[in-house]
Amino acid sequence: MPCEVTPKERLGCINPIFTCQPCGAQFASIGIKECIGIVHGGQGCVMFVRLLISQHFKESFELASSSVHEDGAVFGACTRVEEAVDVLLMRYPDVKVVPIISTCSTEVIGDDIDGVVTKLNAGLLPEKYPGREVHLIPIHTPSFVGSMITGYDLAVKSFVSHFAEKTEPNGKINLITGWVNPGDVTHLKHLLAEMDIDATVLFEIESFDSPLMPSGNHVSHGDTTIDDLRGTANAMGTIALNRYEGAKAAQYLENEFGVPAIIGPTPIGIRNTDTFLHNLKTMTGKPIPESLVRERGIAIDALTDLVHMFLADKRVGIYGAPDLVIGLAEYCLDLEMRPKLLLLGDDNASYVNDPRVQALEKNVDYDMEIVTNADLWEMGDRIQNRGLELDLILGHSKGRFIAIDNNIPMLRVGFPTYDRAGLYRNPVVGYAGAIWLAEQMANTLFADMEYKHNKEWVLNVW
């Protein structure tokens, strides 16, 4: 069978593709304005996630820890949460939203964070902070379940379900972007503006790419408001771009408030962007304007310059977030390329039921492997020991040494991409993303041809 989906055979993990659930919840929480999450666990669960996020964005984001030490681990650490909430509220007077994010340690010892929230809502908040709007939101993200991807999905749903409140229809749509970059949000909002569609974007993270101002403003933070989240129940529909990052929230809004949900496809590449615009049109009745026809035309023109001469038949290995990996694979196929190995980095059993994966299984006519619960060794081992030949790798920075040590050109995509400058500023979604991806892939291949003196003269007459 040319395209096979198999789980990783080994039990252990060598060079993980993902980190654990609390990271996803932390990433979601920094997208909300006046929100500082408290991670209930050891301090490393926060310190390293903050470092990871700051490696990617070259910015610092605020996240707190309940700082569980031995005594808490032995006797229970709920009082650490109570103290953390109080200290945080005292010192950050603007904070209104405080997700309480659990970890492996506090789930194992069985700390009842829901109970703590109930207690604080009845005691500390009305007694010490009367009149102050504070939302404590328990988010259960044990690290031994799922991955940062499911943690993100869970957290988005927790935020939406905490706030969403049915009142009057607001004439907007909800756009749940999934785990993307500021450049993606900017471009998605541009597409919405061209379509004349008013949308609540979850989350407003353009400000993650924050300026260094003469005034010395120091906070880098998301801009999604409590009102934005409340209003999600009153939208005419929800589009969740990613199946695994945000779909739970879309589903919740549909089930709970009858807000129709469209899940996916991840608008990577021309075709998936077309579908996204079609979905917008269907949901709102707004036509696709000439300006986007033209924008699409510019993209198609750019791709036509590249595909047959340079990209055709190039063998690609892709790893990272599942929606990103699948979207990139689909796009590569449209570009005449050959994705040979796709790595999906957690044990989510539903990947095999993903219609996009099933379509690959059905239609790909050359050898392609899709590995679930994968680690990066699945790629390194195939290249070093099992004869896999790749012309290009697409993935995040943690896999950089596969490319470096095997002399395979690599385009950094996804999260985190700390070993390249400013990638978070560029979109991978929409027509602009299609152009960026194709041209960066081409330029990456070109640079490699030059370093290796591999038909570098071809570029003389292009």
Binding site: R10, G12, C13, I14, P16, F18, T19, C20, I36, I38, G41, G42, Q43, G44, C45, M47, F48, L51, L52, S54, Q55, E59, E62, L63, A64, S65, S66, S67, V68, H69, E70, G72, A73, V81, E83, A84, V85, V87, L88, R91, C104, S105, V108, P142, S143, F144, V145, M148, S210, L212, P214, S215, G216, N217, H218, V219, W377, S397, K398, F401
Partner: protein
């Protein structure tokens, strides 16, 4: 030396005793900040956990070892590729990280089978590596897996491998420091004394508490080689596992980072009678004193002096070029644990900067004691810094630069304070004479970056200077400098290479004659 109360921490009064201002004429007995106490929850402290202190800081710099964490995937992923502890074996320890990937079913039923299988798989994937270090995490500690038993089982089945187990869960102590302690003692108990080394010199040391950040260890080993001193093992940067098993045979433990690795030195003294000698690789004078102390211990002061003379002659004019331009610049010295006292005095003496604040994230009171005694009068010293206090301090003190970690460096950036990475360095190595000049160059480049000057301009309000198309660091740093310094023919900028390790790694050393052999003739 009164306690200092941060405005932002008035509501958590227990913080007051964690900060002091070094007053005129006062001594440490007037006040010393509290240290190494439990963190206040929700304070957005900068501390990490005891797992990272053990695995990430001390364990992983060992270069020929599979580093396997027994727990859910995050601990492993998060501590992977976030430090610059390099090695001369192609950085195996940076490139590869291993986890048992503990899942929910393991929490319920135990994960020892998963652990054993993961160990076997790891050795199979890396057939050239026969050594392993296993790190416990919060989750595996709480479910009570017996990691030692599993490791022993594997060692019984695979006689060519050796496994070290470090039980240091993230919650074990107020900060990463708890993990330093645990791994020191665990290594000593399990591994020291299990290999007999080949002794090649009359002068044999262990180099302890050195993590080869950007090549520091390799710079220092060069000096030891030039003195004819054999380094049995480095604990742990660029260190080999089996070398570290032979630590008991050294004549002397030369200790660099006393915060993270004094425990093993003290125990080696107790158990094997090996003396401990504290040294300091940062700065010309500390370097000279350190080599002299080692020379004195072995009676080879002349060898030390020869190196000191050569290196000083080579690099002093370059250090002084920077010193002349850094004079009086205000520094917040905000590292992790020990650099506050390693650097406080010497950056003042040798680079001319004033240390206006020191802090320590995971240091103990002893570190603070040393740091305070070495920084300038009026300096603000605080323990277990948190986000708001750091900001308040920078806004009050208006430093010209801070030396701190990567993420706090991003916070400083936003209030337009240049930062240097005190943990991983900007353009290291920073140890040794040349390294110290590289550090000075990094400080100079950061302070006199034209970008920082541009960052201060508000184009909506300020007069926009239109007379220049560019500025160089030199135009900024030399504006008020005397002609004597500007036109000096002796002072010069750094003349080394971008990667000063390349030549070092190719270097060979003429052997010194052994005393016993010489006696025998």
């Amino acid at each position: 030396m009164p306690y200092h109360e941060f405005q932002c921490s008035k509501c958590i009064p227990e913080r007051k005793q964690h900060a002091v201002i070094k007053g005129k004429g006062e001594t440490l007995t007037d006040a010393l900040p509290l240290g190494y106490l439990n963190t206040i929850p929700g304070s957005i402290s900068e501390r990490g956990c005891a797992y990272c202190g053990a695995k990430h800081v001390i364990g992983t710099p060992m270069k020929d070892v599979i580093h396997l964490s027994h727990g859910p995937i995050g601990c492993t992923y998060d501590t992977w590729q976030t430090k610059r502890y390099i090695s001369d074996n192609d950085n195996f320890q940076i490139k590869y990280t291993f986890a048992t990937d503990m899942k929910e079913k393991h929490i319920v039923f135990g994960a020892e089978k998963q652990l054993k299988q993961s160990i076997m798989e790891a050795f199979k994937a890396c057939p050239h590596i026969k050594r392993m270090s296993i790190y416990q995490t919060c989750a595996s500690a709480l479910i009570g897996d017996d990691i030692e038993a599993v490791a022993q089982e594997v060692m019984d089945e695979m006689p060519d491998v050796d496994i070290f187990v470090c039980n240091s869960p993230g919650f074990g102590g107020p900060s990463q420091s708890g993990g330093h302690h645990k791994i020191n003692i665990a290594w000593l108990n399990q591994k020291v004394g299990t290999v007999e080394p080949e002794i090649k010199s009359d002068y044999v040391i262990n180099y302890v508490g050195e993590y080869n950040i950007q090549g520091d260890q390799e710079v220092m080993i060069d000096f030891f080689n030039r003195m004819g001193v054999q380094v049995l093992a480095t604990f742990t940067g660029n260190g080999r596992y089996d070398d570290l098993r032979a630590m008991h045979r050294a004549h002397l433990n030369v200790l660099e980072c006393a915060r993270s690795a004094e425990y093993i030195c003290n125990e080696l003294r107790k158990r094997y009678g090996t003396p401990r000698l504290d040294i300091d690789g940062f700065g010309f004078e500390p370097m000279a004193v350190s080599l002299k102390k080692i020379g004195l211990f072995f009676g080879i002061e002349d060898r030390a002096q020869a190196i000191i003379d050569e290196e000083t002659a080579r690099w002093q004019p370059e250090l002084d070029w920077y010193k002349a331009r850094l004079l009086g610049k205000k520094v917040c010295l905000w590292p992790g644990g020990s650099k506050l006292w390693h650097w406080a005095h010497v950056i003042h003496e040798e680079m001319g900067v004033d240390v206006v604040s020191v802090y320590t994230k995971f240091g103990h009171q002893g570190d603070m004691e040393k740091g305070i005694s070495r920084c300038e009068e009026g300096a603000l010293a605080f323990d277990d810094p948190n986000e708001l206090e750091g900001l308040e301090a920078m806004e009050t003190l208006k430093p010209d630069i801070i030396f701190t970690g990567k993420r706090p460096g991003e916070v400083a950036k936003k209030i337009r304070v240049p930062y240097l990475n005190a943990h991983a360095y900007h353009n290291g190595p920073w140890k040794g004479w040349e390294g110290w000049v590289r550090f000075a160059r990094d400080v100079y480049n950061a302070i006199y970056s034209p970008i920082h000057k541009l960052a201060l301009l508000d184009i909506s309000k300020d007069e926009i200077p239109t007379d220049k198309g560019f500025e160089t660091q030199r135009m900024l740093s030399d504006a008020d400098l005397s002609d004597e310094i500007k036109n000096s023919t002796t002072l010069r900028e750094y003349t080394g290479k971008y990667n000063c390790l390349k030549d070092l790694r190719k270097k060979t050393y003429a052997p010194f004659e052994r005393r016993e052999l010489a006696d025998a003739v």
